[in-house]
Symmetry: C2
Subunit: 350 residues, 2 copies
């Protein structure tokens, strides 16, 4: 009987058991799921009063886009993108005169959860998810990410901004209208912090970006999935989710804000192709994605922003949750092969 | 509007947002779930040929218990506890002449997944889960944990043994017959490793066990849930799961193997009461549990073994998975209050 492999993440001290004997083929995970649909979708056009006022809307204006916000009880209509505070925020903006302090009492360490928690509605069309969206709409969406990231980052209590997406109820999406969330946190989250430390250590020693090296290697490995001028997608060496893949900008850059307009368009195409391929392969499975970006300007030499996509096909159970070690029954090499083929099929339809 | 709290785990650099304004009451999570039942349960008595041969069975013999194993094609019947290799093991025993080596090629680090992956059937009764089990049966179960832990630990390639349980399909149990799993790994898993490091640092500085201190404090906090002579249960300060609770031995001990027979019985009662209370409160919800034990004898001064119970009531989505920061909508103080009451009710029925 073949022995499974234990693989370490490129940077994190995190290990995954990779079932090399291939117990499961990707298509074993296809599951037809009926989604519950809300009677009235609060994110659909016309229902703007069901959400807090927009902090940003894109509105078409004479062939161009105007950036506005809802003020004095007014709600903009005819928007292309709409961003507002989450009605039940995990993090809330700081009030005047308050500062962010860590309070320590022996083993009990806490701070106020100051920050932002925003919802970005990706399209007026309820079902325009990135895997099927128009490229033009995705380019608006990415530009809107940058606008919000730019504004939130300037707050002195923002130490990190997480941009993430939950697709379908099984992956934690409580509403099915296409939307992304942004959360800013008053400290750098654990996983990003560990990546920052490890990439900094590598840079100090080698004066090179470790991610640039990974990229170069994986572009020519059996884990390669897809590329265009600006971006490359691959299944990571020690994937902890079946069918997991990451999308990296080819040019070294530490935050989304470093992208050129050409790169924004390339990222739109990357999202459409890769998430479209995943959708084709597994009949629109639930997934999560999250951007990893540098926490500050100091990280710009050694950190390389990227997007991590986690299809939600298996359950983390007692072993994973109590140890932080993961069992993945689809080797990333198989994942990549299947995604490559699915994306090819998908692109023929574009 | 009240601001949520960000709380740090006692030892890990892991933060949880605790929704202090209490968005959800524990009973909001009650969900009636219909489990799919296998036509023939391979774990039920009479179906011993459907599994690999037992590496350990407890068989009653003249009012005592005999410990046996299945050999030469023979399968023991009339067992009280039955343990065998997982049919699809994540980790497999080492073959002669092979050693465990870490192979490094730049960013690609791997080793063979040598170890054990065993299933322990907890009772001949299909539905005798710990929350409803006879105390005598639970005492057999814990004794059997110790027997297997003892044997697996002696293998030179065993660096850690994880004992964990998945309850119901939503928590990853593919078969509904009451069972626990044991996995031994050729390296110390991330979460346990980080606890070991932090508790060692505390010990070097203070010459005290940090867990003993936590225990003392939480016994007298609003997070206290339950205790008997040997054990205490509480909701951890920075719980990352709604209704999470931990069970600690009161006496300082680093591994399950340090327990006296009286303590084994006390742990059986603790499992019955606490998991029974959880069951009463939320109508038999899915959950996972995992033991955290010391990795080696060197850790015995500063590490304190314990059991962590994770009810599966919410979904970790894009934010949690990409950052390693968690949002918990049930404050541990509320969790403790509700569990205290439910256990009281439960114990009246014992």
């Amino acid at each position: 009987m073949p022995i499974n492999e234990l693989r370490k993440d490129y940077l994190l001290n995190r290990w995954a058991v990779i079932a090399v004997e291939r117990k499961r083929r990707p298509t074993d995970f296809v599951k037809e799921i009926e989604e519950k649909k809300a009677v009235t979708c609060p994110f659909c056009p016309g229902n703007e009063r069901m959400t807090p006022p927009a902090v940003l809307v894109y509105v078409p204006s004479n062939g161009d886009i105007k950036k506005e916000k809802d003020q004095n009880g007014f709600r903009h209509k005819n928007w292309l993108i709409r961003c507002f505070s989450n009605l039940y925020p995990a993090f809330s903006p700081i009030h005047e005169g308050k500062t962010v302090k860590i309070k320590e009492e022996g083993n009990q360490v806490l701070m106020k959860a100051f920050g932002h928690h925003e919802v970005m509605v990706e399209s007026p069309r309820h079902d325009e998810h990135p895997g099927t969206a128009r490229i033009s709409q995705l380019a608006y969406l990415i530009n809107a990410y940058l606008d919000r990231l730019n504004e939130i980052s300037t707050e002195p209590y923002t130490k990190y901004v997480s941009i993430f997406r939950n697709h379908r109820q099984d992956a934690g999406a409580s509403l099915s209208h296409a939307h992304t969330q942004l959360i800013s946190t008053p400290l750098v989250p654990k996983i990003v912090g560990e990546e920052l430390e490890a990439s900094k250590r590598f840079w100090v020693k080698n004066k090179r970006c470790t991610f640039c090296e990974i990229l170069e290697k994986e572009r020519n490995s059996p884990r390669f999935i897809w590329e265009n001028n600006g971006f490359v997608a691959f299944a990571p060496w020690a994937s902890i989710h079946p069918l997991e893949f990451w999308i990296f900008p080819k040019r070294h850059q530490s935050t989304l804000l470093d992208m050129s307009q050409a790169e924004i368009n390339d990222l739109a195409v990357a999202l459409r192709s890769c998430l479209g391929g995943l959708r084709t392969l597994l009949k629109d499975p639930p997934y999560n994605f999250g951007f990893h970006i540098a926490a500050s300007k100091e990280d710009s030499d050694y950190y390389h922003w990227h997007l991590e996509v986690y299809p939600k096909l298996s359950i983390w159970a007692g072993f994973e949750k109590s140890t932080g070690m993961f069992i993945n029954v689809v080797p990333p090499e198989d994942a990549a092969e299947n995604l490559r083929e699915a994306i090819e099929k998908e692109e023929k339809n574009l």
